[in-house]
Amino acid sequence: MSDIQIEVRQKVYPAAGQAAPHAAIQDFKLTLHAGEFVCLVGPSGCGKTTLLNIVADLDQDYDGEIRIARQQARPKIGYIFQNPRLLPWRTVRQNIELVLQGRDATETVDFLLETMQLTRFQHVYPERLSLGMSRRVAIIRAFAIDPELLLMDEPFVSLDPPTARQVRELLLELWRKRPHTVLFVTHDLREAIALADRLIFLSPSPMSIVGDIRVTIPRDLRQDENEIEAFRRQLLDGAPHIKQLL
């Protein structure tokens, strides 16, 4: 695994109808170290999803570059969208196998299904799954291609708290077994602290980095809500400009 460099000098949305053109991202530069779990935290509408779409090459209308350090190649991306974006006419297993494009990875898929507790549902169509289960399938799909960078756009949003917690724990278990570099978007600071090695705080539009903080709580203590809360308080008390943003 290599470091990944993200540089977006500017992303401007052109004028549309009555709306004037506006800069969504300005002078954004971030290096993700190999195997690092990085959370982007920022207010709603600040441009987090726009950034992920740029990194995923879904948005090519920007000034900047995304590349693997010391190479010109773009990283292989696994993207977990807010909406799971599963193909409803393909079963759980078929959805996962589609992104493998014929590569025989039966053992990998079996392992991922088992880790995410979905083996029993592998031949079920997505319409018959709960939202939490669909999100788990989307996570498996992203891990299955063995990506150089995993993008996650608020993958636990609109889940009830117990389900969100369960999916989060399963995700962490999977990430420990298959440690990929992760760029995770959220506006929930507690969630970010529970998951990340590093927190990147973002300003409102035009988005830029206003804080880069390492989470120092050992991973085995992150189940403890009090630890999370104590870290959150300490962080916000020490950085009023971040507190103002959230």
């Binding site: 779409n53 995923a56 090459d57 879904l58 292989k76 991306i77 696994g78 993207y79 969208f81 909406n83 974006r85 193909l87 409803p88 006419w89 393909r90 589609l98 992104v99 494009q101 169509y125 319409e127 018959r128 799909r141 291609i145």
Partner: protein, 248 residues
Amino acid sequence: MSNLQKFFPALSLAVFVAAWQGAAWVLDSNLLPSPVTVAGVFWLELLSGQLTYHLGSTLIRLIVSFAVAMLLGSAIGLALGRNKNLNAFFDNWLVIFLNIPALVTIILCYVWFGLSEASAILAVVINKLPNVIVTIREGARTLDQDLLDMARCYRLSRINTLKHVIWPQLHPFMMSATRSGLALIWKIILIVELLGRNNGVGFQLHLYFQLFDVASILAYSIAFVIVIQGIEHTILKPLDKQSQRWRR
């Protein structure tokens, strides 16, 4: 569906045939032969081999022109639905072709390219093509961009994207184009045959029209309706069922 409702299609058909028989009995004229008379003619034509020969000729024309129209129409419709510039350029062409009467296209094809099989097929394709394009274009416009982005992000090949992401979304539109296509094409083929071929159901209808033989006209028409119904029940409906199996 209640037990009684299951019998409704057969019951309604029986009522229709009974009404026809009653009207034929009351009128007692060659202009409206009874269902029994038509069934007799049908049987004789079948035994003589005439019905199978002419029906076969029409069916071959139907299959070829339908396949060409669907393939070309799907490709063009998909391109127009996904490319706004292309659509803006060709939209007027579509409107023109949609509004040209079938008869005009058929006559022009025969005049320009001669009374040949190719002209006949071309005339049918030109008539059907705009309908397929419009239907598939609508389908292409409603493709789920989120799913297309997912396919792009995971670097699915063009073939896999078309096969697994685009095609299933277009399927209802394809079925609609297929059904309306079959209904439209076989009507146009009859005119094509009537005007410029020496075989096929249309040719036979023309012949029996000159002889004022209404029983034979009805026998051939019914034969074709049976074939179209057969295609609906043995091919289209099972296809529909198969492709919709993922729905709750």
